[in-house]
Amino acid sequence: MIRTELKRGTAELAILSVLEQGPLHGYEIGRRIEERSEGSLHYTLAALYPLLYRMEHRGWLKAEWGTGANGKRRRCYRLTAKGKKMLARMRAEWADLFRALRRVAKVSYA
């Protein structure tokens, strides 16, 4: 299990990555992250929503209310151009970090 402190730093990258495929609502964002990380990353509402709102205010995401397939109101988030740039930047930074950690702490990654 990944510790909360470590997860906190990864959340922005995880959210931006799952939204790269298309707009999603909050629950679906959390579910996809959990699914893709095979259960290693899962966020409570307290962790997920403040982050989504912050990313929206920073202009990385745009949120709009709509109606889902089941007829329920949902707030969908989509990546903005600024968010796409940020995603590319974060990927590069994380790749650098992993390379450095691999050299220093003998951490390996797939």
Binding site: Y49, P50, H57
Partner: protein
């Protein structure tokens, strides 16, 4: 099925759910919990366990409230910078550059006597240029979704800054400069304020008001009122 909307509102606190924005937050959180609960039930989890599991998924409510408040504050600060301070700074810089250019071109200020004691000193071309400066500041503010008062403040920002400097420097000059303290006259101070604060302020504000009126007329025409 539990009423997740009510559950969220109870935990977020009544005060936080009053404004439109907060109530939308509650709607969003409730829909998240509802979907999570439905998914657990669809997997065959007993109702009691599904409720407990869903409540755990909410996490710490105090942390959630604080996180939402902090995110909102960051957003409001960013908005204020984009809607007020940047356009205000743009207006201030442009107004000063315009004045500096006129002075470089040796344009003489006009002196106009009002009554026996008042003498206004102003650069007429500068005052005529200010509506254009104001238009640029208002445009920058509106582009960032600035509202009425923000557009107004951004547009009259140069006059406010000059006025502020006037009020800030004058007491120091009176205290520390003997020449100023012995020769200063109230009418002179008021004339200076009128020339450099009131007149430019009026030129800037009148431009915004005219633009607002044109805008609201256009809206009325479009809505067929």
């Amino acid at each position: 099925m539990p009423d997740w909307q009510r559950y969220v509102q109870e935990h977020l606190g009544e005060n936080r759910a009053r404004t439109g924005e907060e109530s939308e937050v509650a709607d969003e959180l409730a829909s998240h919990l509802e979907e999570y609960y439905d998914a657990l039930r669809a997997c065959g989890m007993p109702e009691k366990d599904a409720i407990r599991e869903t409540e755990l998924r909410a996490g710490n409510w105090e942390q959630l409230q604080e996180g939402i408040w902090l995110a909102g504050r960051e957003g409001r600060m960013n908005d204020r910078i984009r809607q007020l301070w940047i356009p205000g700074l743009v207006t201030l810089i442009l107004a000063n550059v315009a004045l500096a250019i006129l002075q470089r071109l040796h344009v003489e200020p006009l002196l106009a006597g009002v009554g026996t004691f008042w003498t206004l000193c102003f650069y007429l071309p500068w005052l005529l240029m200010l509506p254009a400066v104001r238009a640029i500041g208002a445009y920058v503010s509106r582009r960032a979704q600035g509202r009425g008062w923000q557009v107004y403040l951004a547009a009259v920002f140069p006059a406010l800054v000059i006025g502020g400097l006037f009020l800030l420097i004058l007491p120091f000059a009176l205290l520390f400069d003997r020449n100023v303290s012995t020769h200063i006259q109230l009418t002179g101070v008021l004339s200076g304020l009128a020339s450099w604060v009131v007149l430019p302020g009026m030129a800037l504000a009148a431009g915004v008001a005219a633009q607002e009126m044109r805008g609201s007329r256009r809206k009325e025409r479009h809505s067929g009122v």
